[in-house]
Symmetry: C2
């Protein structure tokens, strides 16, 4: 029974590794992501390595072992199912469920999680469009382009938002930009580093490229 601290480290390593394309995660990055000083991360990683949850080469960074990855995916599954449950069943806002799930993910048993999964009809994406890892087996990694890389398309649908920051999410929400929303690209300007989109039934919004990079899109289905 890993502590919630351990679970958080594993989940963070997993996500950093994703972002970095499977490579080892540098201790500095990890420490930053976990909001601890570097020495703390080093100490913790050493104990995780002793438990066989990660592979660690001093000054070479960390990566998850198979055991660690399995665990990390379980936590991630918990987290995302809980987020969806909070939105769908309890009516919380999709901009605020992340922090709630961050705690609940460590207190929810497999039994309760299975009920939640049933209740929701075995969904495969959470309120932010993030894929929910299956109970067993690997999930096919969906390849999505960001809004910043989709200048050529005029009509798109928001598929996923890769930032859990409440401020950012609330901004998007205010302007009608949420997973599932159809949008039109009105202008795309590399020079001023900005893109203007019109969300369905909302006023146009202009975003910087950094922000646009966090919004993943796909072609409209219909």
């Amino acid at each position: 029974m890993p502590t919630s601290t351990v679970e958080n480290y594993l989940k963070t390593i997993y996500m950093q590794q994703q972002r970095a394309g499977g490579k080892n995660v540098a201790m500095g990055k990890l420490a930053k992501a976990m909001d601890v000083v570097p020495g703390t991360a080093t100490a913790m990683i050493k104990t995780l390595a002793d438990s066989g949850l990660v592979d660690y080469k001093p000054r070479g960074g960390v990566s998850l072992s198979d055991k660690g990855e399995t665990l990390a995916l379980h936590i991630l599954r918990r987290h995302r199912l809980l987020e969806l449950f909070l939105v769908e069943v309890l009516g919380l806002d999709w901009t605020e469920v992340h922090d709630e799930a961050e705690e609940l993910e460590h207190a929810t048993s497999d039994k309760v999680l299975a009920r939640i999964d049933d209740y929701l009809g075995h969904p495969d994406t959470d309120p932010h469009g993030d894929p929910i890892p299956p109970a067993k087996g690997a999930h096919a990694p969906v390849q999505l382009k960001s809004l910043a890389d989709s200048a050529t398309q005029k009509k798109l649908v928001i598929a996923r938002v890769v930032d859990q920051g409440c401020e950012f999410l609330q901004f998007l929400n205010q302007h009608g930009l949420r997973p599932g929303t159809r949008i039109n690209i009105l202008s795309y300007d590399r020079v001023v580093d900005a893109i203007t989109v019109k969300p369905y039934k909302h006023e146009p919004v202009t975003l910087g490229m950094a922000a646009a990079g966090k919004i993943l899109v796909e072609k409209p289905a219909t």
Copy 2:
């Protein structure tokens, strides 16, 4: 932000104090209830006293301060509301929700709890018949007699079961004895220390007085 350890101590002290009729709780009792050695309880109580959550007289036992009692009631409210939610919404068995709630009670925010309360329609008893403390203000203590003290009545309704042990609860469940069940007392024998009851639509069951003492009853409403 008290740790979950602190929350568990406070809740336990509250319940012990109830059982003992408001008097101070002896360290031995507390240690037993918390499943720690006595020295651990003493150490913890000293820090709780320093935080102003309990009153402690060395060798005189502990009691909750006003601050501590308020907190204890919040945890208890969380616990019971969560139990009911698990039963009503997720379909868990009333015999198994206690342990789940024991963890979730420390991870559930006030916001989520309020939604759960709304969802359930502001209930006032949990699946075991235990009263759910209100969000604010004190609850009127309901006075219930146990089955062991109700020999004179023939027709009764189970109001509450004051034991969270999975074994005991499952036994009751198997024989159709749950909160809300109407029962008839078939025999009551002080000499052999046993009482036989017939639950509505179930076969008669014989219980020892110790077990009967954990089943609280009231007069049938209808």
